[in-house]
Amino acid sequence: MSSTSTDPRIAGGRKAPAKGITLSWSDPRLRAIVWQAVIVGLIGAGIWYLASNTATNLEQRRIATGFDFLGTVAGIPIGEHLVPYDPSVNTYGRAVMVGILNTLLVTVVGVALITVLGTVIGIASLSGNWLLSRLCNVYVEVMRDVPLLLHLLFWYAVLLTLPPVREAMMVIPGVFLSNSGLKVPLLVWEQAHSFFMLALAAGAFATWLAARRATAVQHATGVRPRVWPVALVAMVVVPVAIWALLGGPFTLEVPVKGRFRFNGGGSISPEFMALMIGLVLYHAAFAAEIVRSGIQAVPSGQWEAGGALGLKRGTMLRQIVLPQALRVIIPPMTSTYLGVAKNSSLAVAIGYPDLVSIVNTTLNQTGQAIEGIALIMAVYLSISLSISLFMNWYNARIALVER
């Protein structure tokens, strides 16, 4: 809003309006203040009314307030936990933390899988192959027009109709699929593996440095030095050599089929699998649409220019089109990621112990609904905020720099 006093048209002639607020209803500034006071007052009164009702109700029902319950022993059995958890010893606070970690696990794994699957389907739906692009379109339509909750219930039901442990299917040697989930062999972790991982990380860093140097040399001389020999030595040869020097231990702990359960090995529960399958299939359809429209937003002249340079289709896609499409893709993709984080809360419907499900049990046991829901909201708000901050930073980084 331009301030009226600096308007050159009224510099001469008429007198400029007074700067202060006049006590007249025709002064828009006075009206603005009055309206705001009225609205804020009404909303404040409404909140005060609800709060006083709540206080009375809480007192009448003798429900405790405050977050003290987080310090008491929970007694909620939780099937899946990333940190050690024992219901007879650990507190509600610990249980909530287990829930937060499970939610984060679902979100992170989900976002990664959705990005990959969505990008593949989005690019494939623009393929010149009619059958492939049609199939991708059908996938997108079918998946996104069915509620996510129905997806979850459906996949959970399908997983539960798998054969019982006794007749578990062996997908590949050592990996078993049954109605109690997926059993996978685990590597018996030894010190050599830790050194191997350290060497791998160092190698990745070295490769990144080499790639940066290569780009600098390319900018200076036009010739890009080869990076892959460095990568091969730093990321494969050296780590493997370290691992071999330390004795090359490699023992797999293969799950052994018992009568009712498997012994040993790692396991993925049917709840987690159903949640993952449902979330990924559903959101990948949206991600695919975002990727597709992002690529289509790149002018066809870019493809043609790439073709005129004699680039292959794959090279054009990677080097020319996708970097430009990313700018269109990032903002809507951010809201898809936020949606994944929020929709992971549907886990409560199939009994995966995520944050909402654990807090729901907690508030049923303690009756402290307000604190529980405030906790859920606070955690999700922080997750959402972190995702948007990160994506905004990334968006700013890849934004077109106009000179």
């Binding site: 009375t56 059958l131 027009d145 069915v146």
Partner: protein, 380 residues
Amino acid sequence: MSTATTTHTSVPGREQPPLLVAGPIAWARANLFSSFWSSLVTLALAYFIIKYTISFVDWAFLKSVWTVPADPVTGRLNPDACRQAKGEGACWAVIWDKYRFILFGRYPYEEQWRPAIVLVLFIGLFVVSAMRRFWRKELALIWVATLTAIFMLMWGGVFGLAYVPQDVWGGLPITLILSTFGLACAFPIAVLVALGRRSTNLPAVKLLCVIYIEVIRGVPLISLLFMASVMFPLFMPEGLNPDKLLRAQVAIILFAAVYLAEVIRGGLQALPKGQYEAADALGLSYWKKMGLIILPQALRLVIPPLVNTFIGFFKDTSLVLIIGIFDLLTSGKVAVADPIWQAFSTEVYIMLGLIYFCFCFSMARYSRGLEREFSKSVRR
């Protein structure tokens, strides 16, 4: 283009016309077999599509069980035929047995013609609202009249209809009530919130709107529904206890309003500044400016994304399952909790998926058609 392998030597120097430029074979060569990899993909996909289509048809139609006999003594259905076909054929008998329960929930059996009419009214309302011929002020009257009729039919108690309490309503009518009523109420709130967020000379109102929008957008719908089911009773004064459906409806309205507001804000921002200035130049008051000049144009701009938001909400109403409200998904889930049908939930979920798909897909097609039509008029 392959090099000519022709044996014609009579017309030297002249290229042979391409063999095929039109027709199905040329089309297939261009779109299915244009290169080695494309051909490979086509063949692999065709193999899998044919294989899975055959096994699906086999499962769904050829080896499926459509009805099961009732036990002559107890009168209960005997699902042995389904159990035998398990794994090879679908058991559609569960749908045949339960379809009225899935569609109408626990609504009294003899009165179920009433929710059936409600469904027809709802679909009629959607179709009428979708036709641009009816986009005028009278449409609001049609909505009010239809929604009144719907609630009269559902509740009864007038015109000799038996009274049916709200807690036995269920199935598809609940889903449609929650989504339609929710959107109808959320829309005016959304417009106000969007205007509030855009307002320049009411900073306090703007701040309130921003807080409202960002908080609700940052939390999952489930947390709001939990709030509706366990916290609203605490908010209310002694003795006043709105029923569960109404509480869930309020939560959905609060949630939907935010997402609609953000879409509408997009429309407000997309409108050229000249429109605002022209309205100011005419000396219109704020509400006249918005109601007569800005909103009609801004809303028109965002109809396609609005319809997409509607689709999202239609699907999201299924979340009320978690707080135990009897919508379509819940009644399907309860139907397969029946001990004799417990093993056949897949069939029921497929049917539920089809119902949701029909609604969402038609809305999506409609939105895409509108988008095309609008972009045409802009181009002209």
